[in-house]
Each structure stands twice: as structure tokens, then as C-alpha cells.
């Protein structure tokens, strides 16, 4: 039995949190559609006996007709391979959801109940148990966990569960749980538990040894997730009847672009060209996939370089799928020496040094540092790029 398992594609997701401009966001959304298409192509070519999508296929708030049409067409082309979808917290089964409103091909089965329902395939010894997020789940999240009420019969068929839920043992720190459960809650008799919601690949096992997997988001959505996930190719073999089964899990990478966040200390670079090379190096660092990079320039930096930082983005932008260049540099000045001067400039720097030393937080220190920076540049009539105007809105 061959099953392709994916989740958390988030078609039509917004990249506002990653601070991508609309044009770059549109390119990324097209990238997500490409990822989805690659997964379906793989299912057809392998070929898979069934495709399982464990939620967050799209983002209900932003989903477009184009993406729904692409989904419908993709599933149609996949016929007769059955596709099972368990709606997640971002694409819940609601009256206004495309799941409800659209006419889906006959090979698509969408779970619509907040409790478990089962679907036994006619031509295959496969039964898929699934549940859906319906928009009322937070209230319906019972203390018994999402697996309460699921019983797996011993009927000689392969039983697979599909859910958008959070295994406490596999949930990354900081991520909000959704239908939280523990691996110990998984009922006996399952051959595979296909999960969604965790964007980084993760795996565990039920008490009876049945594997439980998060494939992760096949493509990253922001800088918070270090590595992209993938689709999973599951092959389940069974020694006849209710005999022992074995599931082999092979990842299928489908990601397009890579999100990357780096800080560069400018104090180590004597010229703008050297700094430019250092930034460009991050673009060519990995496997040749396009980079969406957030580069923060830090540290003390010479006046000649600082005055030119404003033009750096335009020179580097072509090396990245998107570049967010933040100037957080400081002037390469000895403020203590300047503060010893008896001039007004010396007094100004002295007063600012005192305020900075007395400040309670890093943010306040940075703010006062900028005040000192601007005052010094004003006394020296230096060019200083305007902060806030880095990069460009496409």
C-alpha cells in the first residue's frame, strides 16, 4: 500500500509577517502552487494508492478562486487516485469554505465532522479515519484529546488516521498547539498516523509502535522556520490478514525557495565592496535555491561606508529572490574621547553617553545611540542614509 502524505502547504498565504512586499509575496504564492503541483506529480508518477493531506492546504482568509481552480484541476488529473483531506485550523470546514461551496472531483474525500469519521475505499483494503477543524474546535477541544472515540476494528484492512493536531512531544517550543494530544493517546490498531500543523518535519510512534509523522510545511513561510519540510512517501506492507505490518517512510523534497536571516558585523569590513561581498556570500551560501534573506548590518562602521549603505540594496537585490537589508550600524567613533572635548560637540556626546549608560533596556539604548549618531553626523555635516527607507516597495 503506497500513500503520499503532505500537510501545511498554505496556498495563498500572506507573507506580511516575513515583511515581503506584495510582488515578492505573489512570487512566493506562485512558488507554493508549484510545490503543490510537484507533490501531485510525484503521487501520479510513483504511483500512490492514496494521497493524504493533513490540513492547512490553503489559507481560508486569503484563498483565491485561481488556487481553488488549480486544486480542483490537480485533483481531477489525479483520478482515480483517491485524495483525503482533513481540514486544519487555517482551512477549516465552514459554510463559506471552498470545501463546502465548490464541487470537488469524485476522487476527493473531505472530512467535515469535528469527530472521527471513517472512509473505506472500495477497491483497496484501505480505511482512512479523519476529522476536520470546523471553526468551533477551540470550544470543542475536549480534555480527553482528539483521539477520544476512535476505535480501530480488526478487519484485515490497512487503517490510517489523518488529523490536523499537535502531539505534545513533537510540538516545537513557541508554537501554539492545536488539538493537543500525547502519543500515548493514539489508539491501538492503526498502521500509520498522518499529522499536520507542525511546520518542521517530526516523527514519533504510538504505544503499539504505529508510526506518527509530521511532514512539515514543504516550503517555508517566514524566517522563523529554519528548514523546509517535505512530502512523505509511506509504503505499508502487511503479512496477510491482521498480521504484523511495516511502514517505510521516505521524504520527498519539494521546496522551492529558502528563507534565511543573518547578521553581519560591519566592523570587520574596511570597504563597502568587502561588505557587499559578505552580503552577497549569503545569497550563494547553500544549494543554489533562491534566497529570501533578511540581512542585518551591525557593528561600528566607517563614515564613508555608512554614507553609501543606502545604495547597497539596489546593488544586491538581483542576487536574491528578496532581500531585506536593515541598517543597524553604529559610527566608528571613540565617543569617550569626543566627550572629553570642551566644545559643544563634546558636551553633547558626553550628555548622550551618560543617558545611554543610564538606559534600562537595549531598545532604549539603541534609540539613544541613534540620537547620538544623528547629532554627531549633524555636527560633522555627514551624509547619513535615512533609516526606514531601506529596500524598496515593489
Amino acid at each position: 500500500m503506497r500513500i503520499l502524505h503532505t500537510a501545511d502547504i498554505h496556498l495563498d498565504a500572506s507573507y506580511a509577517r516575513a515583511l515581503l512586499p506584495p510582488a515578492a509575496g505573489a512570487r512566493r504564492r506562485q512558488g507554493l502552487r508549484d510545490v503543490f503541483q510537484r507533490i501531485l506529480d510525484r503521487a501520479a508518477a510513483w504511483p500512490a494508492d492514496a494521497v493524504l493531506i493533513a490540513g492547512d492546504l490553503f489559507d481560508l482568509r486569503h484563498v483565491t478562486r485561481e488556487s481553488v481552480a488549480i486544486l480542483r484541476e490537480g485533483f481531477e488529473q489525479l483520478r482515480p487516485i483517491p485524495v483525503f483531506i482533513a481540514p486544519g485550523n487555517r482551512d477549516p470546514w465552514t459554510p463559506d469554505s471552498p470545501y463546502t461551496l465548490e464541487a470537488w472531483p469524485a476522487n476527493v474525500f473531505i472530512f467535515s465532522e469535528p469527530g472521527w469519521t471513517s472512509h473505506a475505499l472500495a477497491g483497496l483494503p484501505l480505511t482512512v479515519h479523519g476529522l476536520a477543524a470546523t471553526g468551533e474546535d477551540s470550544a470543542a477541544d475536549s480534555a480527553d484529546g482528539p483521539f477520544a472515540g476512535l476505535e480501530i476494528p480488526s478487519d484485515g484492512r490497512v487503517h490510517v488516521a489523518l488529523a490536523h493536531a499537535s502531539a505534545a512531544e513533537l510540538l516545537p517550543e513557541g508554537q501554539r498547539p492545536w488539538r493537543r494530544f500525547e502519543l500515548a493517546d493514539i489508539p491501538a490498531g492503526l498502521h500509520y498516523l498522518a499529522l499536520g500543523h507542525v511546520h518542521a518535519p517530526a516523527s514519533g510512534a504510538a504505544p503499539d509502535g504505529a508510526p506518527a509523522h509530521y511532514p512539515g510545511a514543504p516550503e517555508q513561510h517566514d524566517y522563523a522556520h529554519p528548514e523546509p519540510g517535505h512530502a512523505l512517501e509511506i509504503e505499508i506492507t502487511q503479512d496477510g490478514g491482521d498480521g504484523p505490518s511495516a511502514a517505510t517512510v521516505t521524504p520527498f523534497p519539494a521546496a522551492g525557495a529558502v528563507f534565511q536571516q543573518v547578521s553581519i558585523d560591519c566592523s570587520g569590513h574596511k570597504t563597502l565592496a568587502a561588505l557587499e561581498r559578505a552580503v552577497r556570500k549569503t545569497a550563494n551560501a547553500a544549494d543554489g535555491r533562491p534566497r529570501i534573506a533578511r540581512v542585518r548590518l551591525e557593528g561600528a562602521c566607517g563614515a564613508s561606508i555608512r554614507s553609501e549603505l543606502g545604495g547597497l540594496h539596489s546593488r544586491l537585490a538581483s542576487d536574491f529572490a528578496w532581500l531585506d537589508l536593515e541598517d543597524a550600524t553604529e559610527p566608528a567613533e571613540d565617543f569617550e574621547d569626543i566627550a572629553r572635548e570642551t566644545t559643544s560637540l563634546g558636551l553633547f556626546v558626553q550628555r548622550m553617553n551618560e543617558q545611554i549608560a543610564d538606559s534600562a533596556s537595549d531598545a532604549e539604548r539603541a534609540r539613544l545611540g541613534r540620537v547620538r549618531d544623528l547629532g554627531l553626523a549633524a555636527y560633522r555635516v555627514q551624509e547619513l542614509p535615512l533609516r526606514g527607507m531601506e529596500g524598496a516597495l515593489e
Binding site: D12, A13, S14, Y15, A16, R17, L19, L20, P21, P22, G25, A26, R29, D59, R61, H62, T64, R65, P95, D96, L101, G302, A303, A332, E333, D334, D337, I338, R340, E341, T342, T343, S344, L345, L347, F348, R351, M352, R367, R370, V371, R372, D373, L374, G375, A377, A378, Y379, R380, V381, L386, R387, G388, M389, L393
Partner: protein, 1056 residues
Amino acid sequence: MRIQRLSIDGYGRFSGLKLSCTPGLQILLGPNERGKSTLRAFIGDMLYGQRSERDPDRFDEGHALRTPWENPDCYGGAIAYALDDGRIFEIVRNFDPKRAAVQILEHRNGTADSADITGAFGLLRNSEPDVGLQHLGLAKEVFLNTATITHLTLEDLGDGEALDQIREKLVALMDTGGEDVSSETALRWLEARIQAIGRPDMPGGPLPRCETRLETLYAERETLLSLHAGLAELAGERKGLQEERAQCRQERLELENDLRLIDAHERAARLREAESLTQRIQTATQHCFALASVRDFPMEQLPRVQAAEKAVEAARLQLERSRAESAEVQSQCEAERERIGGDESLREEIPAELEKRLAETGGQAGRLRERLAEAEAAETEAEAQARDAQERTEALPDFSRVAPDPVEWISQLASSFKVAVKTRDEEQEECNVLRGEIAERESALAPYRALFSRIDDFPAAAREYELRKRMMAEHESQGAQARQALQSEYEELGEELPGFRTLGGLTAVLAGGLAGGFLYTQVAVLLIPCGMLGLGAAWFFSHYAFTRSRMRRLQRQMDQMSAERERAFAEGASAAAAIETMLSDAKCESVRELEARFDAYRDFSAELTARAQVLETQLQRAEESEQRVSRMFERFKETFARVGEHIADEDGVAEAAARAITRYQDYREAKRQMADARDALEKARQESGGLREKLEELAGNGREAEEELRALMRRNGFPEEAEETDAMAAMRAYRDRLAAAREQRGRLALLRERRLNLERQVKREELELEKHEQDLAHLLARAGVASIDQWNAMADQAREYRDVWGKRAALQEQLDSLLRDSTIAALREAVAANGELPPSPRPPRAELKERLDAISARIDALVGEEHALQVTAAERRAGARALCEVEEEIALLELRRDRLRAERDAAAQAMALIEEIARDKHARIAPRLAKKASERLRAITGGVYSEITVARDLSIGVRIPQTGRIAAHPGKVLSKGTVDQVYLALRLALVETLSESGERLPMLLDDPFANYDDERLIATMRIIREMAGQHQVLLFTCREDVARAAEAVEAPIVRL
């Protein structure tokens, strides 16, 4: 700081140069390109180094410029200098990048005792030791810019902005140590930055644009959210429509089957009806054959025959009506002719010209009479006014003998007297102010006077006190060292003394023992050690005695030094007692502070003396003013009496002048009114005479016209004119009668014309009746009948034939319609083919059809609604961006907005702090700068320019001697040289002021006398010589006249 010597191994053009500097003024004379600027740069580089201020691995650009010309490998030198506290340092540097090194030495006892203290200094960011910063308290740029004073390099020294430009240089020096950038420049920079970011109250700028765009995006996001909700509703509706449409299609299919069964039943019924129709058609055909004779009767002529018959009848009736009307009109004409009677002769109209003449003559005569009455009234009034004006003129003084323009004359007199009084009052007020100032200064000076009057020459006493104090300190230091050395030696000797004594005793005892042994044993060998021990004992005892003697001498020396020290202290104390007392009384901690007070006292005294002189002059001017006022008052009393005004005192002059002017104005007004009244009287008399003549002439013309009118009326047979005395009334009566006669004649003419027209109409109608009768006869003949009754009978038969034939055609048409392009045979076959039919459905066909139509319509409507929903959805989506794109743009713009606000706020905070610091600093330094600069300028210009003012914002003003006022923009008043001297005075004052709280800076003067004349050059040189007592001055010049001036003040000159 005082530079003692410069030792240049290699630096620019110099190689192996050693230059000793005097602590005061020293002139470095040399032509251009002899290295004066190089020496200045050498001093800066030696004190601060040459490395870049921000990069320890690099040298600044001056490094390459100063590389030695002769031996580049030997690049460096040394500078030795003494600080104000007496410590002496030497900095040795090598600027060669490969062997760059710096060593700082402190010389304690001349150069003999030197300690390397390089490690005692911290490092600047450029890795140079901060010796310059520590010793001078200034960064390199600040030191060089502050200490270096050159002549003013303004493009136009004499322009109105010269003082502003000097101010900008001073402000820049104080704010940044540079010559170009000040706090004001920084504030402008920050203001420009804030403006570049944008403010809420100003359009433009990225921040307002960003905020505006965000507002738009928030609204767009709300719209998109509601759009999404609406689209979801539409999608739900569409899904419901699709389900309903499927149900309707099923229902329509069932209805169509029922209709097909009904069609079969109807087809059988139609066959039966077709066969019945065929039978009825055959019956009608046979009836038609019976009426075949009238088949061709011209029934189509029926309308024409009927019309012709009606036309004949109508023409006949019309002819009769016309004939009757013609007879009626004839009788009316006869009656009207009889009514006109005898007015036939009244036909002639009154000529318009005659009527106009009569009317004009009458109107003109009336107007002339009115004007005559007005002219006579004006004449009477003018006579009264002339008399009144004559009386008033005679009552006033005759101003025509006083002056050509009495108002101007009186005003000038009053004005000049007022100016004289005001001048006198101002002079007296000025005297009072001066007295007050002098009293105030006297009281302020009193404590100083009490303090400094105890000593005749305080500066000399203070210098002596300082000198004595320094000498005492040196003596004390030297004495302490000597005492310490003596004490150490004394103690060392004291420690040695017991040893010598013990060893001497021991050797003596041993020698005695051996001598005893020799005496006892007579062994000669014992004499040798005995002798040696004896010698040793002698040596020890002699050293003991010498040491004792030395210790006594040392003790005496120490006692003597103590006595000398006490004596010196006693002498010093008595000499310094006066100064110490003054310090105590004045509560000063140092002599320098006391000197500052003495300077202030001296300044106050000088100022007081100057004020007293000014007061004396002012008193003289006040006296002169008083005398001038008295003389003028006497003269004015006499003068005003001529115009009838008497003045009692000074205060009455202005009022008397005002009254005199008022009186003159009354006089002038009365004269003018009298002349006007005489002119008006003459004019009124002339006008009334002319009017009377014109009235006579018009009366003659009116009489002629009236006669002419009456003759015309009589001629036309209107005797009633004699009854009217007024010609115009007779004319109106004649006209009324003439109009009535004309109306009667018109009525008669109309009746005659109507009678003629009726006669012509009767003739036309007779001809028309004849024509209609002929047409009717012609139509009857064509139908083969003789009369109209016969024609009607034939027509009834033809009509019956046509009815039967028409019915047959209708039956045939009904049959064709029933068969519907088919035939009875084909219909018969179809019915036979259906065979036995089931019963027809219960709802009738119409109902089924109606339901089918309704269902079809519903399906169409559902398709239409679905299409409309699709169109609505498409329309709503059209032009709308994706929500995620809007959210992405919002996120980016919010970040940009926040960063720009932070940038703007940071700039505003920097502005506020810079402004506060600069304001405080400038305000604090301004009065000291003004005082010192005024002293310098006074001395340079020999008292011509005595005061420079420096406001809190460091705005500079100079008291101009010609006006005695402070001018901030003197324009061309100050010569180029004076502006240059103002600048030098301020720069010297700045160096002095900045040195007050720290090390006294040496001054590097670089040919500052470009625009000086000889007298001021000498004066300036004296000042510099005087200042050199406090500050070391190195004066670089290429001019021999400067060298001569320096020689005049006995300043040493070094020729480069």
C-alpha cells in the same frame, strides 16, 4: 603650556633643525614657502600624532605631505614643553610607518632626570597616547584651530555681514573646534533631515506619504474583508440555485411527456373537424352559381356614386345660403350711408410741425419762468453772504502782512522751539542717567577700592608675592632635600660609630694581651700581631673620632639650615602679609583670583573716570541747550503778539501756535467766502437779465402759432374753436371730431366690399352645382342604369353573391389551418398509426403548458440568476487586489512608518539637546569674551573703538565712535583693517577665555596683521607682548615691518 624647544629630525623641508623657544613672545620670520606652516603642523603632530582619528592602521593625509624632502627614512622629531604647573615633558616621535614610535618623557631635574611615562597615558581610538588631550584638554583639530590665529580671510572685510561672519567663526570654534561647522549648522542639518522625513503639518516627505498610504490600505483591507464575506454569500446562493435548477429540469421532463399524449388526442379530433369543413364548402359553392349574373356589377363604384349624389345636394344648399346673405349686406350698406350725413367735409389734419411749435413754446416759457425765480432768489442770498463774510474778515488780524505762508511760518517756529526744549530735556536726562551710573559704579567700586588702596602697586606686589612664594617653595624643596641628605648621612654615621668604638676597644685589648704575652714570654713573634692589632685599634679610634667630629658638623649644618628656613619663612610671611590679608578679606583662594578682581577694579575705575568726563561734557551741553531755549522763547513771545497771541510760559508756545494757525485758517476761510459770495452775486444778476429777454421772445413766437392753428380749424368747418380760449384745448376738440368722422367712413367701405365678394361667390357656386350633376349622370350611365334607385337594387344582389363566396373562402382557410400544411389523408394515416390511445391526462393541455412554461421560465430565471451572481461576483472581484497583498503592503509600510517616526524623533531629540547645550555655553562665555575683546580692541585702536558687545547668542556689535551707538551691522563704517582687528581681539579673547579653566594655550599667530597700519601694528605687538606673560606666543610672519614692530617691543626674532 609653553613650548621650550623643537627638535626636527626630518619633517617636510626641515631636517636636523633645533629650535629653542622663549616662554613669551617669539617671532619666526621667513619669506613664503620657508616652512612656517610646516612648523605649526609639526607642533600639532608631535602633540597628537599623525594617525587617522578613526583608523589605527592608517595615517591621515598630512602624513604624506610632511614626509621629509631630504631623507624620507628619518621622519620625526621631538618637542619639549612645560605645563603651567611647572612639569616638563618631552615627546619623541617617529612617523615612519615601518618604525612608527612614540615616547613621552617627564624631566624632573632638567633633562638629567628623565622618566619614560608613555605607559601612563591612555590610548585614543587611533592607538595614539592621549597626551595632547590630557595636557591641553582639547582634541587636535580643536587645539590647532583655537590656538592658530591668522588674519581674517573674508572676501569683503568691509561688507555689512563682516561681524556675522566673525561670529560664525567664533561659534564654530567653540562648538566643534572647526572653523566652519557650528551648533547652528548642526541644527540646520537636523531640521533639514526632519523636513526630509516629513511632518504631519506639511505635505510631502516619506512619512506623511506613508501614513496617507496606510490609511488608504486600512480602508482597502476593510473593503476586501467585507468583499470576501459577500463573495462567500454569493457562492452559497449560487450553490442553492444550482440545486433548484436540477429539480426544475426533472419536472419539465415529466410535463413534456404528458403534453405529447395530449397532442395525439388532439390530432384525432382535428381529423374529425376537417371532414365536416369539407362538406360545408361544397354547399356554399352551389349558392354562388345561382347569383352569377351580378358577379361583375361595379360595386367598387359605390363610394363614388354616393359621393357624387351628396355633392350635388350640398352645392344646391350652399348656393341658396349665399344668395340670401348678399341681399342682407346690401340693405346694411344703405343704412350706414344714411348715418354718415354732413361730416364728409371734415378731412384736414393739424400739421405736426405746428403742434410741436406750440408745445415747445409753451414748455420753454414755463421753464424760463421757473429759472428766473431761482436766479432772483440766488441773487438775494449771495448779497447776504457777501455782507456776512466782509464782517468776519474785518474782525480777524490781517495775516497778509505777517508772512507769505503763515501756517508754515508758525509751524516752523513751534517745531524749532519744541526741538530745542526736547534737546534740552534729553541733555538733562542724560546728565541724570550719567550721575546715576557714576553713583552706581562708585558704590560697586567701593569694596574694591577698600581692598586695593592698601597697596600702591598691587600687580607688582602680587608678582613679588608669587615669585617669593615660588622661591620659598623651591627653597623649601631644596632645603628639605638637603636636610634629608644631611639627616641620612648623620644617621648612617651614627650607626657606624658604635662599631668603630667596639672594634677599637677589642683590637686594643688584644694588642695589650699580646704585648703582655711578649713581656711575659719574650717571644718576639708576638710583637708582629701585637703591632698589627695596635695599628688596627688606632685606625678604629681615629675613625671613631673623625665620625664624631663629622656628626657634630652635620648637626650644626642642620641647625643652621633650620634657622635659615625659619628666618626665610619669617621674612616671606612679613612680605606676604599684605597679600595674604587681602586674600583673606576678599575671600579668594588664589592670587590669580585676586588679580582677576584687581583687573575688574582697574576696569571699573577707568570706566568711572571715563564716565565722569562724559558727565562733564554733558553738563556743558545741557547748559547751552537751556540758554538756547530761553532766547527762542523771548523772540517767540514778541512774534506771536503780532498775530494776537500772548504766551505766558514755555508750555504755552505749542498751544499759542495752534491757536494762531486756527485763527489764520478762520481768516483765510472768511476771505475765501467773501470772494465766493461776490462771484455768485454777479453771476445771478447776469442770469436773471438773460432769462427775462428770452421770455419776451418766446411769448411773440407762441402768439403766431396760435393764429395759424385757429385759421386751419375755421377753414375745415369747425366753428367751435371760437368757444375755446386756449389754443391747445381747441386743437384737442378738433381732433376728436375728426377721428369720429373717419371711423364711420371706414365702416361703410367694409360693407361695400363684402357685398361685392358675396356676389362673386354666388356665381362660383352656380358653376360648381352644374359640374356635380354632370359627374353623377356619367357614373349611372357606366353601370347601365338610368337612376340612382335602379343602381341601388343591382348593388344589393351583387353584395349577397360576395357574402356567400367569402364564407366559402373562410371555410377553406379554416380547413387549411386545421391541416397545417398537411393533408386529410396524411392526418388520417397519423391517427391510424397511434392506434388505441390511453386516456388523456387529467390536467388540461393549457394547464400543462402553463406549468411547463413556468418551469422553463424558472429554469431560465435560475440560469439568469446564477449568471447574474457570477457577474456580480466578477464585478466585485474586478479591480480588487488580493487581501494578502494588501496585508503585506500594510506590514511593510507600518514598519517603514515606525522607523521613520523613530528617525524623526531621534533627530528632534538631538536638536533639543544641541540647542540647549549651545545656548548655555554661548550665554556663559559671552560676557567674558566681550570684556576681554573690548580691552584688546581699545588697546589696538588707541581707544578709538572702545567696546565690543557679545550677546548671549554671540552676536557681535561694535560701538561706533561717530554715533556713539552699538552697531551689529556697521556696513561700510568699519575699515577692513578695523574689522580684522575686531576679529583678532575676539580670537585673543577666546584663547584667554578657553584657557581660564585649564592649561594656558600657546598661541600660534600666522601673519594676522595683513591690514594693519604701522601705529596699530605697534600697539598690537605691545598687547601680544603683554599677553605673552600669560600665554606663549609664536608669531609666524613673512613681513619685515612686523619684524621691526617686534624689535620695537624687544621681542626675540628667529629667522628661518
